[in-house]
Amino acid sequence: MRAVKVEHMNNDIINNIGLNHYLILAALLFVTGMAGVLLRRNIIVLLMSIELMLNSVNLTFVAFSKYLGILDGHIMVFFVMTIAAAEAAVGLALAVSIFKRFNEVNIRFFEHLKG
C-alpha cells in the first residue's frame, strides 16, 4: 500500500512539470555558473560562467511569469539580456587589453589594471 503510494508520488514528480521543476533547474544552472566563477582562472571562461548565471535567472523570471500569468517577467528578461550583452562586450575588451600586455588572460593579471 505504502509502496504504491510512493510510486504514485514519484510518477507525479516525473509527470507533472510545475513551477518547482523550473526553479530547481534554474538554481542548479546558477550554482554551476557560480562554481565556474570560483574555480576557473581564465577570464574568458569566467565571463561565460557569468552568462550562465544570468541565463538561469532569466529562466526563473520566465517560469514565474508563466505561473503567475503576468508578462512583467518577460520585460525583465529583455533588460537582463541587454545588460548581459553589454557586460560581455566590456569584459572581452578588458580581456583583449590584458592579453596585449601580458600575453595571457589569467585573472591574476587584473591587479595590474589602473586608471
Binding site: 530547481i24 571562461v45 561565460m48 508578462l71 520585460i75 545588460i83 562586450a89
Partner: protein
C-alpha cells in the same frame, strides 16, 4: 510519461550537462561551444514556457551575437599557456566547492519547503497561454508604455557601452603606461 514531461527532462539534462561542461572542459573553445548548447537548451525551455518571442531573442542575442563575440576573442588569443587554468590549492578548491554545494542545498531546500506556500497557479491568463502572437503583442504594449523609461535608458547604456568597448580595445596594451 507525457510528451511535455519528456521534453522538460530531456532539455533539463541537456542544459545541465552542457552547463557543467562549460566549467569543466579545459579548452576555452570547447567551453564556448558547450555554452552555445546551453543557450539553445534554455531557449527551448522558454518555448516550453510559452515565451516564444523571448526564445527567439535568446537564440539571436546569446546563441548568435554573444557567442560570436566570445569565439572571435578566443581566436584572437594564443591560449596554449593557460589551458589548465584552474584554481590552485586543494584546500581553497575544496572550500569553494563546499560553498557552492551549500548554496545549492539551501536554494533547493527553500524551494522544496515553499512548495505549499505558492498559490497553485491561480490564473490561466489567456495572454501567457496564447499561441504566440497574443503574448508578443501584449509584450510590446507594456514594453512601450509601462517600461518606456527603462527601454530608453537601455538605449543610452548601449551607446555608452559601444563607445567604451572601442576605447578600451584601442588602448595600447595594458592601461598604466602613458
Amino acid at each position: 510519461m507525457t510528451a511535455d514531461a519528456f521534453l522538460f527532462w530531456f532539455l533539463a539534462i541537456v542544459t545541465l550537462v552542457s552547463g557543467l561542461s562549460v566549467i569543466l572542459l579545459a579548452n576555452p573553445i570547447y567551453s564556448a561551444l558547450c555554452l552555445a548548447m546551453t543557450m539553445v537548451g534554455v531557449s527551448a525551455l522558454f518555448v516550453t514556457l510559452n515565451a516564444y518571442f523571448i526564445a527567439g531573442v535568446q537564440l539571436i542575442v546569446y546563441a548568435g551575437a554573444v557567442m560570436v563575440l566570445f569565439v572571435m576573442v578566443i581566436m584572437l588569443f594564443d591560449l596554449k599557456k593557460d589551458l589548465q587554468a584552474f584554481t590552485r590549492g586543494i584546500l581553497s578548491g575544496a572550500l569553494k566547492i563546499a560553498s557552492v554545494g551549500l548554496l545549492a542545498g539551501l536554494v533547493v531546500g527553500a524551494i522544496a519547503i515553499s512548495t505549499g506556500l505558492l498559490a497553485e497557479k491561480t490564473t490561466d491568463n489567456p495572454v501567457t497561454m496564447g499561441t504566440g502572437m497574443e503574448s508578443t503583442k501584449a509584450l510590446g504594449n507594456i514594453l512601450f508604455s509601462k517600461y518606456i523609461f527603462g527601454f530608453e535608458a537601455l538605449g543610452v547604456l548601449l551607446l555608452v557601452i559601444a563607445v567604451g568597448a572601442v576605447a578600451l580595445a584601442r588602448s595600447k596594451g595594458g592601461t598604466h603606461e602613458q
